[in-house]
């Protein structure tokens, strides 16, 4: 239905509420946004701002309480658990902060895992090419315990890309890495966007990581409160965040949430 649009992922009025009925926690409070094809978006915000929930809802890892999510024009709300799994397998790639790899499998086996799960046996050269693309062609036979943290993350990127997904989601991909390894992973993500037109959505709390993106979404209290496009630098992002923290909007939001909690 959205064949004409270039938005790979759209979110419309997404609300996500957790916790018990007596003490609800609103993680997302009516988020409407979209991620255009071939762009690199960074999602930022303080702890508890809902940035991880936004990523999980957008990726179909979690179902929102309200609102519509589409990936490649497919409404995730309409899908059953198995269809959702297949969608994740075929259209979505993931890179988590840590524990991305199955420890008993080699790097190459980890990379081909999604295709194996889909019942396909990828040609060895595809796997080799994927590892080569992340600069790890010589590490194919190593197990995760024999790889550095940065190398593990790059294997995770290679695995995420083996299915040629419509969109790659990364949740704090550099959170557990030192700055050199972080730079390598971020350059790799940037190159995927520039060279292959890959759509990437990355959650981070690090302004210097966000500086690699084309667009930065700022979240606070479950809402998109700001957006930066063009000329993004770490300093600019940090400045904008500091600005928002001085803004009193958050406090008023908080009061609203408390009232809401009591009314239920």
């Amino acid at each position: 239905m959205t064949a004409m649009t270039t938005d790979t992922v759209t979110l419309t009025g997404v609300r996500a509420v957790y916790g018990t009925r007596d003490r609800p926690v609103t993680a997302l409070d009516g988020v409407t946004t979209s991620f255009a094809s071939g762009t690199f978006t960074a999602v930022m915000g303080p702890s508890g701002s809902g940035k991880s929930t936004l990523l999980h809802c957008a990726a179909g890892l979690d179902s929102p309480t309200e609102g519509i999510v589409t990936i490649d024009g497919i409404r995730l709300n309409d899908l059953g658990e198995d269809e959702l799994t297949r969608l994740r397998r075929d259209c979505v790639g993931f890179v988590f902060q840590a524990f991305n790899l199955v420890s008993t499998l080699t790097a190459a086996q980890n990379v081909e895992l999604p295709l194996r799960l889909a019942g396909r046996r990828p040609p060895a050269r595809d796997v080799a090419a994927a590892l080569d693309a992340v600069g790890l062609a010589d590490r194919a036979g190593h197990r995760p315990s024999e790889l550095s943290g940065g190398e593990q993350q790059r294997v995770a990127v290679a695995r995420a890309l083996i299915t040629r997904p419509a969109v790659l989601f990364a949740d704090e991909p550099t959170g557990a890495l030192d700055s050199a390894a972080s730079r390598q992973v971020l350059r790799l993500l940037r190159a995927l966007v520039d060279d292959h037109g890959q759509t990437v959505v990355m959650v981070t709390h690090d302004p210097s990581a966000a500086a690699y993106a084309d667009r930065v979404l700022l979240l606070a209290d479950g809402r998109v409160v700001d957006e930066l496009t063009g000329g993004i630098t770490a300093a600019a992002v940090a400045a904008r965040i500091a600005e928002r923290e001085a803004d009193p909007v958050g406090a008023s939001r908080h009061a609203a949430e408390t009232t809401e909690g009591l009314s239920c």
Partner: protein, 798 residues
Amino acid sequence: MLSIRRSASAFVAVAIGVALVATATLLLASGRPQVPDRLAQAAVVVQSPEAGTEADSFVPTRPWSATAAAELTSRLAGLPGVAAAVPDRTFYAQPLVGDRPSAADARREDAHQGHGWSSAQLGGLRRTAGEPPRKAGEVVVDRALGLRTGVPVTLLTAAGPEPYTVSGLVDAPGVYVADEVAAVLAPGVRAIGLLLAPGADPERVAVAARGVVGGDGQVLTGDERGALEPRGDARTRWIGMQVLTATAALAGFVTVFVVASTFAFTIAQRRRELGLLRAVGATGRQVRRMVYAEALAVGASAGLVGLLVGAALAPGLGRLLVDVGFEPATFAVRYAFWPVAVSLVAGPVIALLAVWSASRRAARVRPLEALREAAVEQRPIGRLRVATGAFLVAVGAALSVGTATADEARVAAQYALYAVMALVAGATVLAPAVVGPVVRLLRSPVRRPGGAIGMLVRGGALTATRRTASLAAPVLLTVAFAVLVSGMVRTTTAAYAAGRADNVNAGWIVVPDGGPGLSDQAVAAAGGTALLPTTVFRTDPGTLPENRPLTALGVDPAGFAAANRALTVVAGSLNDLRGEDTVVVTASTNLLPSEAYELVFADGTLVPLRVVAVVTDDSLPGDLLVPRAVVRTHDPSALTSTVYVRDRIDPPVGARIVDVATWAAEADAAEDRLVWLFTLLLIGVSAGYGAIAVANTLLLAAAGRAADLRLIRLAGATRRQVLWLVTAESALVVLIGALLGGSVAFAGLLSIRAGLAEQVGVPVDLAVPWSVIGGVVGLCLLLAVVASVLPTWRLLRH
């Protein structure tokens, strides 16, 4: 994704389980009736009609009378292909060596059996020395007794010790007398052996013989002749079968549980990996299939190992079973096909059953769990699990009621076993729900001296109730089983002894010593009131089953009435029990005094009797009473089982004297001993298993807790404090398991006690063998502490 380290414990558990199943089934398949050596040369044997009853009551067949046997023998001898038809007579005769029955082969029933010399041809027995017995007073005995030909020997018979002369020796157990003598001692015949002419086909002869015999017996050839083995051997083997079946069933059952809890544990530890798989595109079904495949691989390989181990162990265990009396001396292990097939299938089946619940949980792992740091379990217990647990507990309770109300001890014991299985399964399933309250209950003693450690132990047990429950499950299983089974056996034994003692009004009791019964001479020497039991058969067209066997007691009515407190006469008078045609029956026969009652006795004759009195069913330690002389007339080899006397006397030859309490406790001593051995065997199997399971799960748990413990260490705990923590944790787990298991078993024991008290009519004390229970709990505790402290100690050293 199969990890050797992770599956090792499941592998060991399945391998041991299959080894036990393989051993038990191999032995089970080996325990087949043996054709007695005495009849080995008779290609076709005609057996008197089976006494229609359950296969496990081991009563003899209904004999032919002397005339019927003679007529049948001559007709069979005339069949084409038959060289000779020989009636085989069996009676009680025991050679005394040095004035006492030879103790060498007291357990072999055929050692104190006598036969006519013509029976020797049926077994192809050859004399090793001397001459066959030709006249009364001559006997051929077993060479193994160490007697020489021509020397005098005393044979203990039903009448008493009798002087004989050894005329010859054979290389087989038993004694052989002249046929005329045998015909007097054993007028009834239970088997006629056919010796075939050279070249005759046994099957064709059997067909012809069936035509002659008709419904008046069974024609047996080949292995069917095993039916002629001594009934005592059949009974011993039946007990052995029960032991082996129970061991195999228990091993399978326990293995499923142990492996299930191991799998449940590995799944809980792998949540993050499973979440990752789900995130990168594995469907729930794929995860489930993967878990099944792993279980299948573990089960199949462990099953193969278990089979090999079991096959290697079977011969040794078989010899052990013979030694302790669970199998007759003729038992030997044979490697049949079906036990091998069963064992090969058992491994994968056990593993798949065990992983069923874990796989459901694995499939429910959500992709987001790959991101969670330490997943705190949300719902301690699912709805399906509660329903399953409640159902199992309900079944267990129903079976307990069945135990308490069952009429027969054997049925009650079976109910009790199933009841405890259901209760234990239910308790294991419901354990996570119970762990919280139990931990809170135990809080006060742990809190004060424990301090920080107490807090950590409690916190861990309370938040991860499922983990705590799966750790406690094997302890629960082991303790419940040990308490229930040992308590049940002890209580039952004591209850029956109390009931028996309560029924007897006598000072002392004379019982046989080293033989199957007392001779008439010994009875006369003892004085008092004697019981002379014999098996009789009801053959009325209306009775079911056909040829129903009954135990008739030959008594002197006045003495019996005085010695038996349980006796309650409903109609008629016991004093009329005299003369050749009187009988006292129980109320359940629905007969009235002066009605007619016909019975076939051991000599095969049909004797018309008249009812003179009716007593309540629980009045008699048998089915009916007849005058002692009637039994003696129709069963020359009947032996007296018991003589009640008032004062202590010197026991006659082949007898000893005991007080009532001892007699009551001893009455089933041989069987009680077997049952107790059996019980210890079962408890040993389950306790060994439980201990392995406890160690297994704790080792796994220790590996999974490394990060936690390091954190606690960083938070300022000393190494010793951490070691105390894990010790306290495992002790708590064992305590929870022991408490839950103990209470389940105790509930079962109470219902059993109620049932027994009803049955024996006296109050029954609960007999709980604390040493067995203490041993089992101690073993679990020891292994639990070792299995958690050792890996922690190693961990903390780095």
